[in-house]
């Protein structure tokens, strides 16, 4: 079978329900089997399911003669000349098959000769041209995507994170990227959470991926120059305008203009941007002519815009237009499970090697630090630690490599919250923690009597001791709050 | 449905008529299992009615109501006030005439005489029918039947035998039993004629003297038949032939005295006894009535009947003796033609 991400869709037209059932079972995982028990449902199914091959029982029960089946072949071939049509018969009579083939059937199968491999190879024979076509399409798309990625992701900032929150955001961004090319997106989140990275993620997956991605940090531009920087200016429009200059809107034509720190612009500028979002038109500074450009706006801010509206520094109508598709990226401390992946990425190592490269307690500290500067701070910290490691000639990143503020940092606010703690742990650690918490509870119930606790846990005192010690040697950081265990086993 | 009996889209209706004076007049309709609408469903209608005229009116009404269906009527034979041949012939003729008027001649309409628990319609005859010995639907939870399965293993039917089942508080006849009975009766007359034909020819043929025209005198044939009747494994050929004869053939009534070939009560009893022993149906009276009324077979039947009557004519003078020369090949031919014409 040719490799293809989408399973070929086989439409089975037969009034014998059992035939559908048997085929679905036999070819599960290989093909998507779609059922039609009469001809009335064929057309909608072909359209809806993008059918790749049709299997037609030559004789349906209501047929009075063989000609009804032949008519169906002719009709199907007329309507769907490019879809292979295979005839299925209950008898293997040569004359039946020959007549069916003469009337346009591409091939035949005899139900009495059912052999999964044989049938599959017959399907494959007729699906081969389709697969080749699909493979070509796939390669074309891949090529285009690669080009788009190179084009748009010249920065090495992938949108990291596998937490449920980030996966949901990725899913939403992918959706908006492909669904509506003109939807304005507002990305909110604390400084350093990766708002631009998210915007680039959206760009790379969208229909504008072949077009430019232009990022502008509005807080870094002098307020008086924001308009000309964005819209461009004509020679002489203002004192320093010595020549015509195109703005970022022109640069982003056909693509995405990412306006970071949108909360920092003046009310006047907000009106002009609002006009663009509504009508897709603007005026170059110094010109009286309206210009229409196809640019998608993705804005971002770390400010509370609702509060800004209340304070009168942000227009409510502009805000409404901006947040057509709002995306909020949570701070890193709210999604600590993403941290190991990020550390590995910034260290340029494989995540599976993380435990070898970072000492456990250090990793624990990194996972549970506050990270008020979010991903950006984490990235800087790892770069710092990597340098320290080199200087100190260490094999692994350990506590000595950590910046002082992390070493001395208080316990994270949610440390006692098992949910939160749990999320950041690897699978084996999670199991260990669950087990240890159970031991902790049992010891508490048994007033720290180890023998009794062991019995309650269906083991003996030695077995329980061995287990606890083993856990401690592997995951010492899990014991921080397990006071009964620590007391009972002198940890 | 895999029951080995022929199926057609046409609805089949069985009407079973009893004349029990002890019971009140009533009629009930029982559907046969199936997924079709009630109208299209096969049916069994049970009637108890003592007045023959009322029965006839009812049956004509039912025949009219089910004129698009195939209808088999089963009339109780052994009651003291049983249905006469006239009754059956009259009923059959009227219905067949109506069918012809309405161009429904492909529809089946047949009357059968049943009784005594020895006909196929009774379950006890071959363990395939639908009625118990007193005429109710076979539905006996205590009935212990040893049957052989398809692999020859003998097994006990623990659950008893029920040819009916209850669906949503409604009695339904199991399709398999209905179909078996229908299939049997759809060819019953033909089968009886074939059996009589082959039994008769096999008995009468003389291989040593059968080259060319094997003519036998009627008295010799009668002697052979009487001899056969004495044998332990007798098939009662003489009585069976008499039960087939068209007694009231107006054309011949003047020529031959009825009492020479009319089936007598003791002969009928003998035949019925034989039927019970052999579990075969031998009595041809209902068949004869049907053949008399049948548009397709009537003429062939009359020809055969007239020829067979010659066997029972006691020769009194030379002229009659001459008339009573019987050719086996002629009997054979007449039987074959009649069988071919029976639907």
């Amino acid at each position: 079978m040719y490799s293809t991400s989408k399973k070929a869709v086989l439409l089975v037209v037969d009034d014998e329900i059992n035939f559908h059932k048997m085929l679905k079972f036999a070819f599960q995982g290989k093909y998507e089997i779609v059922s039609a028990q009469d001809m009335s449902t064929v057309a909608p199914l072909v359209k809806q399911k993008m059918v790749d091959l049709i299997l037609l029982d030559l004789k349906l029960k209501k047929d009075t003669d063989f000609h009804a089946g032949l008519k169906r072949i002719v009709g199907l071939k007329k309507d769907y000349p490019n879809i292979p049509l295979l005839i299925v018969t209950n008898n293997g009579k040569t004359e039946t098959i020959v007549t069916a083939m003469k009337n346009g059937a591409d091939d035949f199968l005899y139900k009495g000769d059912f052999d999964r491999i044989k049938w599959q190879s017959k399907f494959e024979k007729h699906l081969k041209p389709l697969y080749l076509e699909r493979e070509n399409e796939r390669l074309e798309t891949q090529k285009a995507q690669l080009e788009a990625t190179v084009n748009s992701l010249n920065s090495n900032h992938p949108f990291l994170g596998r937490s449920e929150k980030i996966l949901k955001i990725k899913e939403e961004l992918s959706f908006v990227a492909t669904a509506e090319k003109n939807t304005t997106v507002l990305i909110t989140g604390e400084t350093g959470v990766g708002k631009e990275v998210a915007a680039r993620y959206l760009h790379a997956r969208g229909i504008r991926s072949h077009q430019p991605f232009v990022a502008v940090n509005l807080s870094t531009i002098q307020s008086t120059l924001v308009e000309s920087t964005l819209f461009g200016h004509q020679k002489g429009a203002f004192t320093d305008a010595k020549s015509d200059r195109k703005g970022f809107f022109h640069q982003a034509e056909g693509g995405i203009l990412f306006l970071d720190e949108i909360g920092d612009i003046s009310l006047g500028m907000q009106v002009k941007l609002l006009r663009f979002i509504q009508d897709k038109t603007f005026r170059i500074v110094g010109s009286e002519k309206d210009i229409t450009l196809d640019v998608q706006i993705v804005a971002a801010t770390n400010k509370d815009l609702k509060k800004a509206i209340e304070e009168g520094t942000f227009r409510a109508d502009f805000y409404q237009r901006l947040k057509v598709f709002p995306v909020h990226i949570p701070p890193l401390r709210k999604r600590r499970e993403d941290i190991p992946e990020m550390i590995a990425h910034f260290m340029q190592i494989d995540e599976s090697d993380l435990e070898k490269q970072v000492e456990k307690n250090t990793l624990y500290k990194l996972i549970h630090y506050r990270w008020e500067g979010n991903v950006r701070e984490l990235k800087n910290t790892i770069e710092y630690m990597t340098i320290r490691k080199r200087l100190k000639k260490k094999e692994v990143l350990d506590l000595e490599c950590l910046p002082d503020e992390i070493v001395q940092s208080p316990k994270p606010e949610n440390f006692s919250n098992a949910e939160s703690k749990f999320g950041a742990l690897a699978h084996r650690e999670r199991l260990a923690l669950v087990d240890l918490q159970s031991i902790e509870r049992t010891l508490q119930e048994c007033l720290d009597r180890k023998g009794l606790a062991a019995a309650k846990l269906n083991t003996n005192a030695d077995g329980l001791r061995y287990k606890v010690k083993k856990y401690y040697s592997n995951y010492p950081y899990l014991f921080e709050e397990l006071d009964h265990i620590k007391r009972a086993y002198n940890i | 449905m895999e029951n080995g009996s022929p199926q057609s889209a046409k609805t089949k209706v069985m009407i079973i008529v009893w004349k029990w004076k002890e019971l009140t007049d009533r009629m009930d309709l029982v559907y046969v299992e199936g997924t079709e609408s009630d109208e299209e469903r096969h049916k069994v209608i049970r009637v108890n009615m003592t007045d023959s005229e009322k029965v006839k009116m009812l049956l004509l009404d039912l025949a009219d109501q089910y004129k698009e269906s195939d209808v088999f009527i089963f009339l109780h034979r052994s009651h003291p006030h049983n249905f006469t041949d006239d009754f059956i012939e009259d009923l059959t003729s009227i219905v067949l005439d109506r069918q012809q008027e309405n161009q429904l001649i492909k529809n089946k309409f047949k009357c059968f005489l049943i009784g005594g628990g020895q006909d196929y319609i009774y379950f006890c005859t071959k363990e395939e029918g639908i009625l118990d010995e007193v005429g109710y639907f076979m539905d006996d939870p205590e009935y212990e039947l040893m049957v052989k399965d398809e692999f020859g293993k003998e097994k006990k039917l623990q659950e008893g035998v029920a040819v009916v089942t209850r669906k949503f508080h409604r009695l339904e006849v199991k399709r398999v039993y209905f179909n078996q009975v229908w299939y049997y009766y759809s060819t019953e007359f033909k089968k009886k004629l074939e059996a009589l034909h082959i039994d008769l020819m096999s008995h009468l043929v003389d291989l040593e003297n059968s080259n060319g025209s094997a003519n036998l005198r009627s008295k010799d044939i009668l002697a052979k038949l009487e001899q056969e009747e004495q044998q332990a494994d007798s098939k009662l050929l003489r009585i069976r032939i008499r039960s087939l004869l068209n007694v009231y053939d107006l054309h011949e009534m003047d020529l031959l005295p009825i009492n020479q070939y009319e089936l007598r009560e003791e002969e009928k009893d003998k035949l019925i006894k034989k039927e019970k022993e052999s579990k075969n149906s031998y009595l041809m009276d209902d068949c004869a009535v049907y053949l008399s009324a049948s548009r397709q077979a009537e003429q062939q039947y009359k020809k055969l009947s007239r020829y067979l009557k010659k066997m029972f004519v006691v020769p009194t003078n030379g002229q009659l003796q001459e008339q009573s020369l019987i050719e086996l090949r002629r009997i054979n031919q007449l039987f074959r033609s009649l069988i071919m014409s029976v639907k």
Binding site: E16, N18, F19, K21, M22, F25, A26, Q28, G29, K61, N90, N91, K111, G112, F114, D115, R116 | M1, E2, N3, G4, S5, P6, Q7, E150, F151, T187, K191, E194, A195, H197, I198, D199, M201, S202, H203, V205, L207, E208, S210, N211, G212, A214, N280, L328, R329, N332, Q333, R336
Partner: protein, 255 residues
């Protein structure tokens, strides 16, 4: 092969007695032909009609089809038919109402199985019944029933062998159980309704074999639906063998 033995097949006891006496008188022995052996013989006399449950059938065509297909073993066979069709003038037909004046000459003149002789039908044809057995009343053929047994059994086999992703004997059995039980019942019902006709067929013996195979399949489907039973009986092989035998037999059921 003795030339003075005439084998017969029929169930009209009266005629068997008469024919036996007739042939004895002419120095021939009439001997019953054993359908389980199907020996190569010189003369096989079919006594028609053959009665099955009160119905009368011609059986010569099914015998002729069979011997024609198997002619290498029966090349010298003269298939004779005795009956009451006085209009039949075929040289292999023994007209019981017009016996030949010289039986030796009749036997000599009769054609061997491959020669062109034809007996006209005079009773119901057994082939019509057997055709119904294979093709069904609603044209739902016996093979159609077998097809669904094969689908179910093949899926179970593939699941056991790990050819169907994530499936095993249990799941495959659950998926196919209803279909297998329904189809097996239909198949068996049809078999039971028609098996009476096999008794007078020359392929009576292989039919018994098929019946045995059906018993194996039924054991798995209705009694012990375990993988071990499936494997012990080699159910896929059983289905294939049943089909092979039935296909062969259907070849004899031709008009």
């Amino acid at each position: 092969m003795e030339k003075d033995i005439i084998y017969f097949f029929g169930n009209n006891e009266v005629m068997i007695k008469k024919l036996s006496a007739y042939f004895n008188k002419r120095n021939y022995t009439l001997k019953k032909y054993d359908l389980n052996q199907l020996d190569s013989v010189h003369y096989l006399l079919l006594i028609e009609p053959y009665s099955i449950q009160g119905n009368y059938f011609d059986i010569h065509r099914i015998f002729r089809n069979y011997f024609e297909k198997e002619s290498s073993r029966h090349s010298k066979l003269k298939l004779l038919v005795a009956g009451f069709d006085t209009g039949c003038d075929c040289r292999n037909y023994l007209n019981l109402l017009d016996m030949p004046s010289n039986i030796d000459a009749f036997l000599l003149r009769a054609g061997v199985i491959r020669e062109p002789w034809k007996i006209r039908p005079s009773n119901g044809d057994l082939i019509a019944q057997l055709d119904k057995f294979f093709m069904g009343h609603h044209r739902v053929s016996l093979f159609q029933r077998l097809n669904y047994l094969q689908f179910g059994i093949t899926n179970i086999k593939d699941a056991i062998e790990g050819n169907i992703e994530g499936q095993n004997h249990e799941t495959a059995w659950l998926n196919a159980a209803d279909i297998l039980r329904t189809e097996m019942d239909s198949f068996t019902n049809r078999w039971r309704n028609y098996s009476i006709y096999f008794e007078c067929c020359p392929f009576h013996q292989p039919m018994k074999e098929v019946q045995k195979l059906m018993g194996h399949l039924r054991s798995y489907i209705f009694e012990q639906s375990d993988q071990s039973v499936f494997e012990r009986y080699d159910c896929p092989r059983v289905v294939a063998d049943i089909r092979k035998e039935l296909v062969k037999m259907q070849e004899y059921v031709q008009y």
